[in-house]
């Protein structure tokens, strides 16, 4: 059933001074055809590293990738075949296109790589068809342009078209709209969603924006410093966040329906909570135990041990001591009564 399976992915970088930075720690997920899995996290959470590892653009320290049930090819023809099936859309529309080449070049190359026999007019037509599918018209005019002649949104559409050129089964979208103007983000996300449905693609949508993560995916994973702290159905996780980090993320988002007074009250509550805390610690070496504990309002002594993954609802899991065993039950009652 799953098209792409990533199991126990770990990516660690050696740093100067010997300390190792684990950007991704024992992460597993699977992508199903026609469905989107959202990966939510902030900068430094390791989400971009996950994309690059899944696309085999960097070598993980450990872990397995399976495509259509078979181990992913790692070199030569097998690797190239993997690349055709698993495509990436990058975050920066200005950097993901080569300023020296035309749009046609960008699209023709992957088309030719997929089917070597495509040449001349047939190739041109294939390029125009691709541009048509991402609503860049008239395709003949757009194909002749260079990236600097297009707007950010148009470039990102070209990037999407390029990703589709090899007729992939999997799309890994790394923050595809966060560098675009706000008013065109939804248009691009709608386009991606429609293409996914039309072509029955399996999609990974990486973002820091909870709202679009909820609307454009059915499943969601929340990452913090290389670890998935919560996962489950999108509506569940967003509307009933279990992990304290997800709760903070959800509460930090602007609430257009709140009144001025309730906003001022919330602000005062946050300020008192912040004054009570000892302050943010910048850490690169906190490998043991729960990585969130230095910022967690519910931190307990047991958090120095790596927390278990606990089921908090149907298909909904959180990596947190609050929900595990006796201490979990008590803490759960407490946190339901109080507020963040």
């Amino acid at each position: 059933m799953s098209v792409l399976e990533v199991a126990n992915l770990t990516v660690a970088f050696g740093q100067r001074g010997g300390a190792r930075l684990t950007a991704v720690d024992d992460l597993s997920f699977s992508l199903r055809a026609g469905q989107t899995l959202a990966l939510v996290g902030e900068s430094g959470s390791g989400k971009s590293t996950v994309v690059r590892a899944a696309a085999q653009l960097l070598k993980p320290s450990s872990g397995q990738i399976r495509l259509d049930g078979q181990p992913a090819g790692r070199r030569g023809r097998a690797l190239r075949s993997y690349r055709h099936e698993v495509q990436v859309i990058f975050q920066d529309p200005f950097a993901s296109l080569n300023p020296m080449h035309t749009v046609a070049h960008h699209l023709a190359r992957p088309l030719m790589l997929r089917s070597g026999r495509l040449r001349g007019e047939a190739l041109d037509q294939a390029v125009y068809d691709l541009l048509q599918s991402v609503n860049l018209t008239p395709p003949q005019e757009v194909a002749a342009k260079h990236p600097h002649e297009l707007s950010g949104g148009q470039r990102q559409r070209v990037a999407i078209a390029r990703a589709l050129a090899t007729d992939p089964d999997v799309l890994l979208a790394d923050e595809p709209v966060s560098m675009l103007d706000v008013s065109i983000r939804l248009e691009i996300l709608n386009l991606l969603d429609r293409l996914k449905q039309d072509r029955n693609l399996a999609m990974l949508y990486v973002t820091h924006d909870l709202a679009t993560a909820r609307y454009f995916s059915s499943q969601i994973m929340v990452m913090y410093r290389g670890v998935v702290v919560e996962r489950g159905p999108s509506d569940e996780v967003i509307l009933n966040p279990a992990h304290p980090y997800t709760q903070i993320l959800a509460s930090a988002a602007p609430d257009p329906t709140a009144s001025r007074q309730s906003l001022a009250d919330a602000r005062r509550r946050r300020q008192t909570a912040r004054a009570a805390r000892t302050g943010e610690v910048r850490e690169t070496t906190l490998e043991q135990g729960c990585r969130f504990r230095s910022r967690c309002p519910h931190a307990m002594p047991v958090c120095a041990d790596t927390p278990p993954s606990v089921e908090t609802g149907p298909g909904h899991q959180a990596l947190c001591w609050l929900y595990a065993g006796q201490a979990g039950a008590d803490a759960q009652v407490q946190s339901a009564a109080g507020d963040t």
Binding site: G153, V182, I238, I248, A253, P256, E280, R282
Partner: protein
């Protein structure tokens, strides 16, 4: 125009152009007023001219950008009005940072990476408060850092040793170093994570309550502005298209662009509904527009839009517009929009329902419940 006793800054008919073979008119005839102690938000996307406007107000425009028209007047507390464009030399230096300071978008670009933080504070004091001796300067720097929630012991360190949020707080501390009357913030939290952003905003609000400066807050994040500002301007293609009180515009936008922009921020907790932004692309500012610059992307356009440029009019059906009195307790009922839909002469029936000021038109309701973002066969679990 408002009573001058309330104002701290007034900019009229500002025009800024980037010289080139085909000049780009980045700011086109913008007029704004900043009241003492208020937060004025400026919302808009890339290319709308908001940052250029901020640089014009602080006289920091560099070639090829030049201001080609307009007047800027500063009204200091307890002093006489100052024509900002006439300032030169010593007077200009005194104006900058003493009276008006700026917090830039990317702290890593604005902070000097090779000098320590206290040296950078020193620079400010040396330039503007030469009478302070070294100990006094260090003490003031420590006070400022403490004020923004940074351990003063870190002042000997360097910018790269701090996290993004802390760097931005240092920027804020530097902006407040000389106790200015106006602080302009250009996307101060955009590069930061949403949690840190929330902290920084809280910090700014607390400082504002404590020190009483006025703020011009520039960002593309309209939903944020709705929370933090008192009034806001929406800019498009170098012009002001809507000027409204922040607490009301969120539920009742007057301009189609504001409407589209609001719609681009889906409510995370809301019911699933069709998600749409604004179709099309930002305009090319090298062109002179025949009619309304937003017309190609506007879903409510009608005949006059392509041929006649709109001017700022009172928004139809709002408190403070023609024929209605300003209700007590509201800081400003002045609500203006540059859109022919609100021109009773061109459209006697008034603007379409969603723009007419009746709340609850924005969230779902009349729109069809076509859900997007659900996945095809297989569902989940």
């Amino acid at each position: 125009m408002s009573d001058e006793r309330d104002l701290v800054l007034r900019a009229e008919h500002i025009c800024v152009e980037y010289a080139a073979r085909r000049p780009t008119r980045a700011v086109r005839d913008v007029t704004l007023e900043l009241r003492r102690g208020e937060v004025l938000g400026i919302a808009g996307e890339s290319g709308c001219g908001k940052s250029t406007l901020a640089y014009a107000l602080t006289r920091m425009l560099k070639p090829p950008a030049r201001q080609t028209d307009g007047a800027i007047t500063f009204f200091p507390a307890g002093g006489t009005a100052v024509n900002v464009l006439d300032l030169a030399g010593e007077a200009l230096r005194e104006f900058r940072w003493n009276k008006i300071a700026m917090v830039f978008q990317s702290a890593m670009n604005a902070l000097n990476p090779v000098t320590s933080l206290d040296k950078q504070f020193d620079d400010i004091f040396e330039a503007h408060r030469p009478q302070l001796d070294k100990t006094a300067r260090r003490q003031r720097a420590a006070e400022l850092l403490d004020m923004v929630g940074i351990d003063p012991a870190r002042s000997h360190g360097f910018a790269h040793e701090l996290s993004g949020g802390m760097r931005q707080r240092v920027m804020i501390a530097m902006a407040l170093a000389l106790d200015p009357e106006i602080v302009i913030m250009d996307e101060p939290t955009t590069a930061l994570d949403v949690v840190v952003q929330r902290e920084i905003l809280d910090e700014i609000e607390r400082l504002r309550e404590e020190l009483g400066f006025s703020v011009i807050f520039i960002t593309h994040d309209l939903s944020l502005l709705l929370e933090v500002s008192d009034r806001l301007l929406v800019m498009y293609a170098g012009e002001v298209v809507e000027h409204a009180p922040a607490d009301l515009v969120g539920s009742a936008p007057a301009h189609p662009y504001t409407f589209g922009l609001l719609r681009s921020f889906p409510d995370m907790r809301g019911a699933r509904r069709e998600l749409r932004g604004v179709p099309g692309n930002p305009p090319d500012l090298r062109h002179a527009f025949q009619g309304c610059p937003f017309e190609p992307r506007c879903e409510f356009r009608f005949e006059p839009c392509a041929t006649t440029p709109p001017t700022l009019l009172p928004a139809a059906g709002r408190p403070g517009s023609a024929g209605r009195t300003v209700s007590a307790g509201r800081a400003d009922g002045d609500w203006r929009v540059a859109c022919h839909l609100h021109d009773a002469a061109l459209r006697p029936a008034g603007p379409p329902a969603v723009l007419s000021g009746a709340p609850a038109m924005l969230s779902g309701g009349a729109q069809d419940e076509v859900t997007v973002g659900t996945d095809s066969a297989g569902g989940d679990a």
